[in-house]
């Protein structure tokens, strides 16, 4: 059984102009020790999914349809208190270090210990603290920096601290939201490698959210490409990279320098994604699609299967 199963998930935001359909009919699953990369432009709904998995949708956001199951347990029916207990213990999150994910006026060790103490109320402060020390060693942070404040850390150290924090309660699943953005390439690479190692060691399922498909390729077993709230293509990393079906995936691959692949001129994707408000007809990528046909604009595209793991949401790909 998969660790996490998401089926036909739809999420909408109430706004002044109407309901914004941020995520539309998305399904995926993650297994222990495996990782899934969610890739797409900003605003495509990938972060919304991450937040939904943590039960942290903003006040005006709501799951409108579908199910989310963690180890067979339905997450949508959880009460607030159940959610609170579930968070971090079962499913943790790695935030982008460049964001203000760490509280600037609290010492870092305290912020990590806080998570441990919240979920293990029986623990003493000292015990929690020694656990934090262990985590520091794990992620390769010097122990003498434990009592520092976040602003005293470099970007890479902050990211490591955040990873340490995510591991604090031995979660089954970690949602990593753009964990390496804004880090320089070398640090980025180090952290990715370490993440991979940790994942293996603790047998964690990871959902890796990024706008950078090449980074995702480095770490993930599976990739899901998101566009305008929909999952337009899913497959193993190999499948997607070698045999991208959806025109958007292809465009994405073209717009990023591949880490190990051949050198190609970068091609930006012209146009902008549609506004996700109101009734949307037809294929959402239509306006930017180089290969669209006449029907695309009117009929919603069909989900097409290419292998057991490889799907795409397009009528024109083959």
């Amino acid at each position: 059984m998969a660790l996490l199963e998401v089926e036909n998930l739809s999420i909408g935001y109430r706004t002044k102009k109407g309901v914004l359909q941020a995520v539309d009919n998305v399904s995926f699953s993650v297994e222990a020790g495996r990782s899934l990369g969610l890739v797409g432009e900003s605003g495509c709904g990938k972060t919304t999914i991450g937040m939904a998995l943590m039960g942290l949708l903003p006040r005006n956001g709501r799951v409108t349809a579908g199910t989310m199951r963690l180890m067979g347990r339905d997450m949508l029916g959880l009460s607030r208190e159940q959610w609170r207990e579930l968070r971090w213990k079962e499913i943790a999150m790695i935030f982008q270090a460049a964001m203000n994910a760490l509280n600037p006026v609290q010492r870092v060790d305290q912020q990590i210990a806080e998570a441990i103490l919240t979920h293990n109320p029986g623990l003493s402060r000292g015990e929690a603290h020694s656990q934090v020390e262990g985590l520091y060693q794990l992620v390769g942070l010097p122990l003498e920096r434990l009592r520092d404040y976040p602003h005293q850390y470099s970007g890479g150290m902050k990211q490591r601290a955040i990873i340490a924090m995510a591991l604090a309660c031995n979660p089954k699943i970690i949602v990593a939201d753009e964990p390496t953005t804004a880090l320089d390439v070398i640090v980025q690479d180090q952290i990715l490698q370490e993440t991979k190692a940790l994942q293996k060691e603790f047998n964690i399922g990871i959902i890796f959210i990024s706008h950078d498909i090449s980074i995702v390729a480095e770490v993930c077993h599976h990739i899901a490409i998101m566009y305008a709230g929909q999952m337009v293509e899913t497959g193993t990393t190999d499948e997607v990279f070698r045999d991208a079906k959806h025109p958007y995936t292809r465009a994405l691959l073209g717009s990023f320098p591949a880490l190990g692949g051949e050198r190609r001129p970068l091609r930006p994707i012209p146009g902008e994604p549609p506004l996700l408000v109101g009734q949307l007809m037809g294929c959402r990528f239509c306006d930017r699609c180089p290969v669209h046909g006449k029907a695309c604009k009117l009929e919603p595209p069909q989900r097409r299967r290419f292998s057991d793991t490889h799907f795409a949401l397009c009528d024109h790909c083959d």
Partner: protein, 323 residues
């Protein structure tokens, strides 16, 4: 840290020096005879002449200025015309009273502003928020002397609950049976109304600052982190949002200090609180120039130092700032 404080102190000295200089110039620019402002009018002409020579008022203006600065540095502000005492002695007796009332008022209203602003932001748009915000808007635009008179009218006259003037009552202090506790209680008892007045005037602005700062903080990423960690809402509010949100309140306390001091002087005057602000108002109305001048300098000094304290507090609470 030490270096920062030293440099700030140096800055304070420079500003004080400039204020002193401005006062010197003003005292000579004012119409009429500058000597008459320096010399006690009750002195005989011979004595006055003697004193003028002593003070160096018969010397060229540059030398007078140097003499004046020298006196200032030595803490020699002359003698009050009316008390006949050294001005320093008069104002130093009043300073602790002002500090007691003013600091208590500022600290209490800042704490209340922070506590209530936190609640208002947390319950944004709900009844509690509306009530608190409106109360804050209305109270902090009240006209202070009027509020003070109202407070006197209600609690002193209509209800007759609380003393409306002074700081201690002769009865308690003359009674040989009164112990230290009685005396402390007596001061607290007298402090209620002036304190309440200052409190009502000030908590509102801190509440509004705290509220908007808290609303901004609540949108910060570390709040999401805290939530993701599964912390209770209470903990998120009190341990993560509030400590960040009230930093701007500290700044606003500092910025509004000069303005609050005005209110302090008015409160002292209406409630006859024996403080430095009331002393200044009385010295001004009695033309006790040496006393007025020194009180003013002292108040400026208090504001300057309080600003320094506020900045140091800010640094203490915000680890990102280290001097």
């Amino acid at each position: 840290m030490a270096r920062y404080v030293t440099s700030r102190l140096a800055q304070i000295v420079v500003i004080l020096f400039m204020i002193v200089t401005i006062l010197f110039v003003l005292f000579r620019l004012a119409p009429g005879d500058p000597v008459s402002r320096m010399v006690d009018p009750s002195l005989s002409p011979e004595e006055a002449a003697n004193l003028i020579a002593q003070l160096g008022l018969d010397k060229p203006i540059g030398q007078q200025y140097l003499q004046y600065l020298q006196n200032f540095v030595q803490g020699n502000f002359g003698h009050s015309f009316h008390y006949g005492l050294p001005v320093g002695q008069v104002i130093m007796a009043k300073l602790p009273n002002t500090i007691l009332l003013f600091t208590t008022a500022m600290v209490l209203s800042a704490l209340a502003g922070i506590a209530w602003g936190k609640v208002a932001a947390w319950k944004k748009g709900q009844g509690a928020d509306m009530a608190l915000t409106v109360a804050a808007l209305v109270t902090h635009t009240l006209f202070l002397p009027w509020l003070a008179l109202l407070v006197i009218w209600i609690f002193g006259y209509k209800l007759d609950w609380l003393p409306i003037n002074g700081m201690i009552s002769a009865e308690v202090w003359l009674d040989p049976a009164s112990g230290h506790l009685d005396k402390a209680l007596d001061v607290a008892y007298h402090m209620v109304l002036p304190l309440a007045t200052l409190f009502i005037m000030h908590f509102g602005s801190y509440l509004l600052v705290m509220r908007s700062s808290m609303l901004q903080t609540l949108r910060e990423d570390y709040i999401i982190t805290a939530r993701a960690k599964g912390l209770t809402e209470r903990k998120i509010r009190n341990h993560h949002a509030a400590p960040n949100a009230w930093l701007p309140v500290i700044t606003s306390v500092g910025l509004s200090l000069a303005f609050s001091i005005n209110g302090g002087a008015l409160t002292e005057t209406v409630f006859s609180w024996p403080g430095i602000g009331r002393e200044l108002v009385m010295a001004v109305s009695q033309n006790d120039y040496p006393l007025a001048q020194a009180s003013f300098l002292l108040i400026a000094m208090v504001v300057l130092f309080a600003n320094l304290v506020v900045d140091l507090l800010y640094a203490y609470f915000d680890p990102r700032i280290r001097y």
